[in-house]
């Protein structure tokens, strides 16, 4: 044990100077004093590169829009660059957030499809994105999660959110087709039907476990 003569307090740690007055501590007895915590090690600023990545993408957006703007409206190629930059940042954040990988996969597919549709709109030709990429990506996602659930029944609770979200989004291509927003019918109808069947399957599966899961997820 150590002692500060000025502050009249004992110290049960390895300090040589009093924290209160900075005076020298005296040894009171031969008791061994120890530092009872893990020692702090200086860390590098790990987030610097994260911030740099986001900063460079913002710079890229501003520079490309400015250069494109010099040729006058409407903006053309700079929109594609900007959408890609925003996509890169969103994907970076999405992948950095710790969550189960099925959730990451579902979000990544939805964000990627969204990005492709925006690029389609930017180049004034979105048909390929909305007619083909959108429904096929969603069908693939539903299929992958369904397979996961079949082969890993114990963890189906973990995949439930992803499957619910992707099946609800899977109804959108059919609705878009209904309102004339897409030109090719069969991929949208196929996606809508597949999503609807899956959704009905989730709701009406005669399993107590699924009903309980609904109760938890939707408790209000």
């Amino acid at each position: 044990m150590k002692y500060c003569k000025t502050c009249h307090v004992h110290y049960d740690t390895t300090l040589d100077h009093c924290m209160l007055c900075n005076g020298d501590l005296e040894h009171e007895n031969d008791d061994v004093v120890t530092y009872k915590f893990s020692e702090y090690k200086k860390k590098n600023a790990s987030r610097f590169f994260h911030r740099l990545f986001i900063f460079l993408n913002i710079v890229s957006i501003l520079v490309s829009i400015y250069i494109d703007f010099l040729d006058g409206f409407p903006l053309t190629w700079s929109l594609v660059v900007s959408i890609t930059n925003i996509y890169a940042v969103v994907m970076f954040i999405l992948l950095a957030i710790p969550t189960i990988w099925t959730s990451k996969m579902t979000k990544s597919i939805i964000v990627t499809v969204g990005m492709l549709i925006l690029i389609g709109l930017a180049i004034r030709n979105h048909s390929w994105a909305l007619d083909y990429v959108f429904p096929f990506a969603l069908m693939l996602n539903i299929l992958l999660i369904t397979i996961l659930i079949i082969f890993n029944k114990k963890k189906w609770f973990d995949y439930f959110s992803s499957l619910s979200i992707v099946t609800i989004v899977g109804l959108v291509p059919g609705l878009l087709n209904l309102f004339g927003a897409t030109q090719v019918t069969w991929p949208s109808v196929a996606c809508f039907s597949y999503a609807l069947v899956t959704l009905l399957g989730i709701i009406f599966l005669p399993s107590k476990a699924s009903r309980d899961e609904f109760k938890r997820r939707f408790h209000i």
């Binding site: 100077h17 924290m19 200086k42 609770f157």
Partner: protein, 428 residues
């Protein structure tokens, strides 16, 4: 024989609902309980002890899940892993990196530490869990003591342990409007990388009680509340003459008031408020005011009225139908605007730790740390000494210094310990 359930779920309790939305590196909402043993900790046995005890503590064996409208806790049966204690006290952690669990068990030399995310439990609940872990650790070591009905893992499970007592004590008729004015806040430079300074004062309990009972006719909590407030009043330069009052928040364990044995959150803040416009404060008149405010607020009717108001908020139909994503955004905005601004500092007294005789001989010391804004003070008593632990993210010792010097001048024998080390100034 205990029947181990594997599929259960809980709604988050009223106090816990906000924490998942607002917690981050600089506001972890994690508190620490540590036991120092009379021997080096065997990490393998510790891990075994935690996994042995976990199924008995349903409210700890959970993972946080997202529902459409609210978060909820689902059962978690994964194997729990203990870790070496990190340098940062009450460190924010991501449940995803902790097998979904919302608590951490650390070991370091002879110390076992439980750090709990406030969404699952409060100090009283977490203490039951730590006591059970340490008791079972010794059993696995081959040392057996009589549990003397003080170790929950050795007692039959009761559904009441998992009850949300905020909801069970909700009375719609007793709701009242809860309005909080903003409080004085400390300003100053922070330690880097969210490091929090911890200063531990070890005081003989008998001497402390004698002082507060005979000289000041108060309780220990009232005494330290007034003394902390007086230290802030004496040592800060921007409080006096300001508009915002000094508000010390003191969480009260509601279990004795409402006959509860829950392991989930069941505490509510009372507060001691001191006017900034008054310039003639003395320690004595601060203590008198503290006593008055305590006796006024520690009234079962008033506490139930506040519980009802808080639960009434979450029962509001407009709040309930708001999707979780929007609720999270609203909680974040609301907490940033109001959350921390209504309190200046906090004091939490866990009281005397009641251990079985055999275990009491093995546990030589205990810590209770609550890292918060400004200064967070905690008290915990074990055997014949009381530890007053002050923690702060700010590089300022003046208030702590005043507090300590006051106690020394009252003749108390104080032994200090800290997580600070010479040389930290250069890296923190």
């Amino acid at each position: 024989m205990s029947l181990k359930k594997q599929k259960y779920w809980y709604k988050l309790d009223n106090a816990g609902k906000i924490f998942p939305a607002v917690s981050q590196d600089e506001r972890s909402n994690v508190f620490r309980l540590s036991f120092y043993l009379d021997e080096m900790v065997d990490s393998t046995l510790l891990e075994e002890a935690v996994n042995k005890v976990l199924p008995r503590f349903e409210t700890f064996a959970v993972q946080l899940k997202n529902g459409l409208f609210w978060n909820y806790f689902a059962s978690n049966t994964k194997h729990f892993e203990v870790e070496v204690e990190p340098a940062q006290v009450c460190k924010y952690f991501k449940a995803h990196d902790n097998k979904g669990y919302l608590f951490k068990v650390y070991y370091l030399d002879n110390k076992i530490t439980l750090e709990t995310f406030h969404a699952i439990s409060d100090g009283a609940g977490a203490m039951h869990f730590l006591k059970s872990v340490v008791y079972n650790y010794y059993r696995l070591r081959g040392i057996k003591f009589d549990h003397e009905n003080k170790i929950l893992s050795e007692l039959p499970y009761s559904k009441k342990e998992s009850e949300d007592n905020f909801v069970s004590n909700y009375d719609k008729a007793k709701k009242k409007n809860l309005k909080e004015e903003k409080a004085y806040h400390f300003s100053g430079e922070r330690f880097s990388n969210h490091w929090v300074l911890m200063m531990k004062l070890r005081i003989p309990t008998k001497d402390l009680i004698q002082l507060v009972k005979t000289k000041y006719q108060s309780t220990v909590t009232q005494f330290v509340t007034a003394l902390l407030a007086y230290s802030i009043y004496s040592e800060t330069v921007d409080f006096i003459g300001g508009k915002k009052p000094l508000k010390v928040f003191i969480p009260v364990n509601l279990r004795p008031y409402f006959d509860s044995v829950t392991l989930r959150n069941f505490s509510l803040y009372i507060k001691a408020t001191f006017d900034a416009k008054r310039t003639d404060w003395t320690f004595e008149n601060m203590l008198e005011l503290t006593k008055l405010q305590f006796s006024d607020q520690l009234d079962k009717e008033k506490l139930q009225s506040r519980i009802s108001s808080l639960v009434g908020f979450e029962k509001n139909p407009l709040i309930r139908i708001l999707p979780l994503v929007l609720k999270t955004i609203a909680f974040k905005i609301g907490y940033n605007i109001l959350g921390e601004s209504i309190s200046s500092c906090s004091i939490s007294n866990l009281g005397i730790i009641d251990l079985p005789t055999g275990l009491e001989k093995k546990v030589i010391d205990a810590d209770f740390v609550n890292a918060g804004y400004g200064i967070a003070m905690t008290l915990i008593s074990l055997k014949n000494h009381t530890n007053i632990i002050m923690s702060s993210p700010l590089k300022d010792l003046s208030i702590m210094n005043y507090f300590i010097q006051f106690l020394v001048s009252e003749g108390l024998d104080i032994t200090l310990d800290t997580n600070y080390k010479e040389g930290y100034d250069e890296i923190l």
